[in-house]
């Protein structure tokens, strides 16, 4: 998890939304827009878009009210996204849960944290080097 340390310091981009699944698409779009800036491929962008949606679904499961906060750390061809919302700790068995299976396939790394009454999910995406030719 050492590479997850990039998700420290002040985020480059922050987006605060109502903790309501209706706003998740805004977040997915924002993520895609940022990834395009980092030269992610269309495949990677689609993965990111989908993973952010899944992450929000997990984080919002226990959220009753308050805000959904999305923080982005942008590196050279690497993006870390942290979505968090107030909520009770989510029971998530990493080995069993389907959504978790989806997340770990899509993202390079995924981490679920509970701090106080906040549930946060961090995802790291590393775009593949832009090689050409097979």
């Amino acid at each position: 998890m050492s590479s997850m340390s990039t998700a420290s310091g002040r985020p480059h981009v922050e987006l605060r939304l109502p903790a309501d699944s209706a706003f998740v698409s805004v977040l997915r779009t924002t993520s895609a827009g940022l990834a395009a800036r980092l030269d992610f491929t269309l495949d990677d962008i689609e993965d990111l878009r989908m993973a952010v949606g899944e992450a929000c679904a997990i984080v919002l499961t226990g959220a009753t009210e308050g805000d959904l906060l999305a923080e982005f750390w942008l590196e050279q061809r690497t993006m870390t996204v942290r979505v968090s919302a107030p909520g009770a700790p989510t029971e998530l068995d990493p080995e069993e849960d389907f959504a978790w299976q989806v997340l770990t396939t899509l993202a390079s790394e995924a981490k679920l944290e509970h701090t106080g009454d906040t549930v946060a999910l961090s995802l790291q995406f590393a775009a593949l080097p832009l090689e050409t030719g097979v």
Binding site: T41, L42, E46, Q101, T132
Partner: protein
């Protein structure tokens, strides 16, 4: 050096052109009946019906040009036939052109209109719809030449627009909901569908260990959606690879995946 016989003169072409000539004659004869002032109502109806059934292969042919675009072939034939009906009713025999020459653009126009108007769940500006089509073909070309999926920047350079426009157009893609999602039932006869082509995957799917609660949900999915889901998350293929394997566009794979995940999520919550 071998000399090719001029086109149309090879003996192989003869039966075909003879058949064409024959259908031309029948078309002309039927139109004469349809337009003649002294034809009875019954004769006109007979001629019209025959003209339509005689030219249905033309609609089939036109519809086939739009295969693999996510719309069921039968639907395209259906809207194409509307175009044929219009063409039969509007054809002017005095113009001196063949009926097929006149009908083809009408049929294709009707099919294109179907894609343009019916395919979009939300009215998306024409500019974005067209850009999205450009992205589709540019993306296929670049994927081929690069050996990986292209970046928005590469697409923007190829098409000659900005990265923002690419992102915007890709986003509008989620407003495109094709009717094919409801289709895929090949049990009612008709032509072979994509589902038939990928049916062999099911055997492997059975070996995948799936969490118990989600298994019935997965089982309830349509075969194609299930296949795409499995290829993506259990065989770890990229959307582009899946697109190639299943024979649909990457954007369509993306839509199907998103829809399936959303569906599973809601179903699990219930």
């Amino acid at each position: 050096m071998t000399t090719q016989p001029p086109r149309g003169e090879s003996p192989v072409d003869l039966p075909r052109s003879a058949a064409l000539e024959e259908s031309r004659k029948r078309n002309a004869a039927l139109f004469t009946i349809l337009r003649a002032a002294d034809s009875t109502e019954n004769e006109r109806r007979f001629a019209r019906d025959h003209l339509i059934s005689l030219n249905l292969p033309l609609v089939e042919h036109c519809a086939r040009r739009f295969r693999n675009r996510g719309e069921p072939h039968e639907d395209l034939v259906q809207v194409g036939t509307i175009g044929l009906l219009k063409a039969v009713d509007r054809f002017d025999t005095d113009r001196g052109v063949e009926f097929s020459t006149y009908a083809t653009p009408t049929v294709i126009g009707e099919i294109k209109r179907h894609f343009r108007d019916k395919g979009w769940a939300i009215r998306v500006p024409r500019r974005l719809q067209e850009l999205r089509l450009q992205i589709g073909s540019a993306s296929a070309l670049l994927t081929q030449s690069l050996g990986r999926s292209p970046t928005p920047r590469e697409l923007a350079e190829r098409i000659g627009c900005t990265v923002e426009e690419i992102v915007e157009a890709l986003e509008s893609g989620s407003a495109y909901a094709t009717l094919s999602l409801d289709a895929g039932d090949s049990s009612d006869g008709g032509t072979a569908s994509m589902l038939d082509a990928i049916g062999a995957e099911d055997e492997q799917l059975e070996h995948v260990e799936i969490r118990e609660s989600i298994k019935p949900l997965l089982d309830a999915l349509e075969a194609r959606e299930k296949t795409i889901l499995m290829l993506r998350f259990f065989r770890n293929m990229t959307q582009s690879q899946i697109a190639e394997e299943v024979g649909i566009s990457q954007m369509h794979v993306s839509r199907l995946l998103n829809r399936t995940l959303a569906h599973l999520r809601t179903a699990l919550e219930d």
